[in-house]
Symmetry: C2
Subunit: 147 residues, 2 copies
DNA sequence: CTCATTTGCATAGCTTGCTATTTAAATCCA
DNA sequence: TGGATTTAAATAGCAAGCTATGCAAATGAG
């Protein structure tokens, strides 16, 4: 039956499934928090500030996606948008004290979930897994670039 | 800097990134089509019919998610819901001729993208990669089960 | 200096995913 | 048999992702 082929050896299917499980596992631990702000937390945790564009690039999402994420985070008091005096189109985004607090909690949860997941791998397999994923990401980004 | 730690060795981050790239790569090839119906296509491609619940379980998504996907597919003329005479709460879902046509195209695209992605791995690594992903999925499902 | 182009964000509108809740049919048990 | 429970699906409402498009500020070319 084709379905078993797909379920077992479709990299896209398995990757999507794993990604949803990762997100839900983190969200279950955050009690009300979501996993969307995670890349922003990681980028700004040390007190730095950067533009929406830079955040989108770090998070590897499109600009409107990051705009929406930052809107929700601003609404929830997690980030601050400070107008850039040198470029009136742009703003520097930084974490509020509440944002830094949430970032720490999110970091703890992410590390715990990462450990639970990679405990399913032998220690010597873990770096291999990351490397394989990075190579697959590279191949798909190259494919996207050469439409 | 913590960000590079996250980008390079957070399994959740890398998995989410790869999953989005897979979906976009398939969608780019489908010209207007989306990747959401894929699990339904795979499950019903041979002319079979099953309930929404069974489809949700095969696709590993929640029931309302599958309900929405089937609503869109029904709207687009891809599936048919046939009321079950033995259980008036339930319907058997099957592909229309157009649905089977789209399923074939989606299958071709999925296989091509899968090939492009796994070409980044050595042949002997591919089964290892699937196996690792399956083990990680198992670990995260166990974690979800034991809240 | 002015106008065309580029750039940074915002907005609109869609899909896919989730949780929580509701509705109605089927089933179970006393 | 009749009420309680379970089950299948629908609905509401939100997050996070995308593409396409619009707008205003900055930049560059003549």
């Amino acid at each position: 039956m084709q379905m078993s082929y797909v379920r077992e050896t479709s990299a896209g299917y398995l990757t999507n499934w794993a990604a949803r499980l990762f997100a839900r596992a983190i969200e279950r631990r955050l009690a009300g928090g979501n996993s969307g702000p995670m890349p922003v937390f990681f980028a700004l945790q040390d007190g730095g500030a950067m533009t929406q564009k830079a955040l989108a690039q770090l998070a590897a999402v499109e600009q409107p996606t990051m705009a929406n994420t930052l809107n929700r985070m601003e609404r929830d008091g997690l980030v601050l948008r400070t107008p850039d005096p040198n470029d009136r189109r742009s703003a520097q985004v930084s974490l509020t004290p509440l944002g830094r607090e949430r970032a720490k909690a999110a970091f703890v949860s992410a590390i715990e979930v990462n450990r639970i997941a990679t405990d399913a791998l032998k220690p010597e397999e873990r770096e291999v897994f990351y490397d394989m994923l990075r190579r697959i990401i590279g191949a798909l980004e190259r494919d996207a670039g050469t439409e």
